[in-house]
Symmetry: C2
Subunit: 324 residues, 2 copies
């Protein structure tokens, strides 16, 4: 029987739902629940609903008392004040998340960027402490990054560090949603991949993908479908993944030359393409990065993808709970 | 009167000479000397000569006994073993610098990459501890980088971290000496700038520079001369610095998005172009990086350029001397 003092809650706030889990200090998930969440109300109401969801979850579980809660959410966060400074997805600006949340449920709270939480989760679950320096890249619609340096989450001056998705790899490249040009995300974010696939379809270059999509315009083109098409022999989709792999490899090489980490862990929807993207990425990494750090780093796709955010958020609270 | 126990020696090994200084723990230089050094002998002989130079320097000064010596040298170093793993400039490979040096002069030694030493020097001298995170870029023939993160020099898994000069900013760009393509160094290293100037001369586009160079083929084209030409109104050189500034700005924006530092300090020959390169760089930084970290960072050209390497090497020894 776990002592309740050792238990924490991790919450991963996504665009349509929040994942909650009671977690042991080992990272083991003891109880978990997913609750829908809508962001079409004021931040105050949304956060009140989140607190209520957590209350209901704990009430329904056998774990009535936990030590605290770590919450991961997309956006630029001020962890020291518990403020969501800016979340473009949620259209939030300077929301005092921690204050509102704690008003409805009296429990110590850490709020952090979701990629930071995923990085801490990857550090504990994937790296199993065989390393001191780990970079985690969340490859999805956006590309997030989290930096574990000298065994600590690195946040920088204002908690904004780790935006590897907005590292420029082609400064004369096309515009990125962030206002810059040629960012990693503009190449290998799923939006970029899907746009590229749509171009191929229009030009009639992707026959297998065309078949999978069918005539229904309702089939959503997702990275998963692009992987399937490539595996089934679609030449356009095969080239698309090869290019994406090369671009990811440039990002990895930059990370290796800059951080010289023991581990780089990839997660998120785009990483599910597996060797379609990883093989060309590793090839490019080997060609571009300095030899010793390139030989030192181990690049893997996370084994724990779905869990990283929620487990990482909880364990990050635990790691830093002397602050709360 | 300083107690001798508080004194250290810093050494900055350049391509043609070694700078040595006795340094107080405040960073104050108490005595300094430059000795020529030639690398055309075996590493053993070169390092023996270096140790002899240090002996002679200390004998000639009033500081007979110092606590230890920090040595900065270009190349990939294993600081824990005191080995120069690879120095392309010196053509050294796996040279046990610390062992050889200590054989000739019995004194605790730290050997580190010269850009790491400069970064530590900039952290102490330029930043005066008003920050926890500082990136130092040495802009010369090569572009080096040193990372101070959470008030410590960050070295990564094998001591190779910080190679910001070999961050790709244009992955389909031209080849870099390191074997990759479109690295920062290939754009704004002095070699790239000089090549670009020579092209302008050949095409007759740089009349003021042409005048400064004269008809003598012996005048070496250096960044200093390119600054002078730009200041005297040469349109080609003005554009050259504007382009270099933009490229530097891309590098700065990447550093800001990734590290979110309080400070970025520039040093080295190319940084002496001052506002010719800094102004367009800051403009680009503002356009490309995320707003909050971009507003937070202070980017300056070091006030202590010539001293950074030697003072940083000594103080880095002091900072880490519990290891020695």
């Amino acid at each position: 029987m776990k002592r309740n003092e050792d238990l924490i809650v991790g919450i991963d706030c996504g665009g349509t739902n929040m994942k909650m889990a009671v977690i042991a200090s080992t990272g083991e998930i003891l109880s978990a629940k997913i609750a829908p969440i809508r962001y079409d109300q004021s931040p105050e109401k949304v956060i009140q609903k989140m607190a209520q969801n957590l209350k209901d979850f704990l009430k329904g579980s056998k774990f009535k008392k936990v030590r605290g809660v770590g919450i991961g959410i997309a956006g630029d966060t001020d962890q020291t004040q518990g403020i969501i400074r800016f979340s473009p997805n949620l259209n939030w600006k300077n929301v005092p998340f921690q204050r509102i949340f704690s008003h409805w449920i009296e429990i110590p709270v850490l709020v952090d960027n979701d990629a930071n939480c995923a990085a801490w989760g990857a550090y504990i679950l994937d790296a199993k402490k065989d390393c001191r320096n780990l970079i985690c890249l969340t490859l999805g619609t956006g590309i997030g990054g989290g930096l574990i340096l000298n065994s600590k989450l690195y946040r920088g001056a204002t908690g904004s560090a780790g935006e590897i998705g907005h590292m420029t790899i082609q400064y004369q490249g096309h515009p990125c949603a962030c206002g810059s040009f040629g960012c990693a995300e503009s190449f290998i974010g799923s939006g970029g991949l899907i746009r590229s696939a749509e171009e191929g379809l229009k030009k009639g270059l992707a026959p297998v993908l065309q078949k999978l999509v069918g005539r229904s315009p309702k089939t959503t083109i997702e990275p998963k479908l692009l992987s399937l098409a490539a595996e089934k022999g679609d030449p356009y989709c095969q080239q698309l993944w090869k290019d994406a792999g090369e671009q990811l490899g440039v990002v990895l090489a930059n990370c290796v030359n800059i951080f010289n980490p023991e581990r780089i862990v990839l997660c998120g929807g785009v990483s599910k393409a597996g060797n379609l993207i990883l093989e060309p990425a590793l090839h490019t990494l080997g060609r571009r990065a300095f030899a010793i750090p390139a030989q030192t780093v181990k690049v893997t796709i996370s084994q724990y993808d779905e869990k990283l955010g929620v487990v990482g958020a909880g364990l990050l609270f635990l790691e830093e709970s002397h602050h709360y």
